[in-house]
Symmetry: C2
Subunit: 230 residues, 2 copies
């Protein structure tokens, strides 16, 4: 009854994103070394899925491009599953036309193995060297489109959080960035809580420490405010 009441309250609330189309990415990517081995990261996808769920409640039409995660698709969300960064970029570009907002919440692997072996690599030497090449930058690619959606990124850092976040905001030409310090316990990758700080060109806003649903709601409210002032 409490859950149903919450859903009703959400659905009955203001709809600042009514009529808006939101595209977002979530989860990690997996970059194959061979048919069985891969490189990945600790992203659970929880923040991106929370954003998708809350955005639907705020009236948006939501498309979620997700890496491999163990999460159920929120009601009303169109979900596209991918594995690698290259697959994620392809899915994002295909879904991009007509979107009003893009949020790059996925922890996209920065690098992928240069060569992917067709068969399982046999271990032989005491040491091994893996050559990696840079993956496409999905967020920067979206920000460079003309026309482009209101483009939002995330910065998950372990040190110098504000400096790295503001640098990323400027370098990639984003409209807004959400920074979190993943070195702290109970926030970030696998946690159910977060403590985001939003930065934009001439301002910032701390969202305090709360569960990811509440952080998502506050973040989307801020995005809606920015869209309304454009």
């Amino acid at each position: 009854a409490i859950a149903a009441a919450t859903v009703e309250a959400l659905n009955a609330g203001p709809k600042p994103l009514a009529g808006k189309k939101l595209l977002l990415t979530a989860g990690p990517t997996r970059e194959a070394l061979d048919p069985v081995r891969f490189m990945s990261n600790h992203s659970s996808g929880k923040m991106g899925f929370a954003l998708a769920e809350q955005a639907v409640a705020l009236g948006a039409e939501v498309t979620l491009v997700s890496g491999p995660v163990s999460l159920a698709t929120p009601a009303g969300v169109t979900r596209i599953d991918v594995e690698s960064a290259e697959q994620m970029l392809e899915a994002v570009l295909a879904a991009l036309p007509g979107q009003d907002i893009f949020i790059g919440c996925a922890a996209v692997a920065d690098y992928r193995p240069l060569a992917v072996a067709d068969n399982k690599i046999k271990k032989s030497n005491e040491r091994m060297v893996v050559e990696l090449v840079r993956n496409p930058d999905i967020l920067a690619t979206v920000a460079q489109q003309q026309p482009r959606p209101f483009t939002v990124g995330f910065a998950a850092e372990t040190d110098n959080v504000e400096q790295y976040a503001r640098d990323k905001l400027a370098r990639k030409g984003l409209d807004l960035i959400a920074a979190n310090d993943v070195s702290k316990p109970d926030q970030g990758f696998n946690a159910n809580h977060n403590a985001l700080t939003l930065y934009w060109a001439d301002g910032h806003k701390s969202l305090g420490h709360s569960d990811k649903g509440q952080q998502a709601r506050l973040m989307l409210d801020t995005i809606a405010d920015h869209l309304a002032c454009q």
Copy 2:
């Protein structure tokens, strides 16, 4: 009713492993590159967890050392969670004294990054090289103990399956090895079914194609036969 009947049938069946202590490993390991990135593999842990469940039904006292998986602990099983190969080896050696059977079912990463960064590595270059060093060989380490349990390994291969399996059996000094061809659909890492072939010094046995619970049961029956003949 069918599930309850199955459980009852299992519990009412013969107990060829009564009084035996079984230690097994399951799942992948994760080898950290930095606080957020890791190398891993596609092992789901399903086969190891099926073995643990069936071994309890056959009367064994079961300890399961598991890498990161999304599976519930079978009833009656003592579970120890680990992340890396080094942590898995430590847990296995600590639990080993008094064990009658060891089954190395985990897909242990063969290599780990030489250096683990304390902070998240910043991407900077177009290319990057990761130096890897060999992980400890948990299976071979167990097989070298004196006294040692009846020691069973797995060979997940994409080509030349029998040749690699027999080579691994001899090289590591195992008592038995279970081979599967992970290049085939619907068997191996993420599948619910498997098609194992068991090899030992002077024989082999194909278990056909069935769900992992049935494969586990057939495999444990074969192990019990070998123990009875020692």
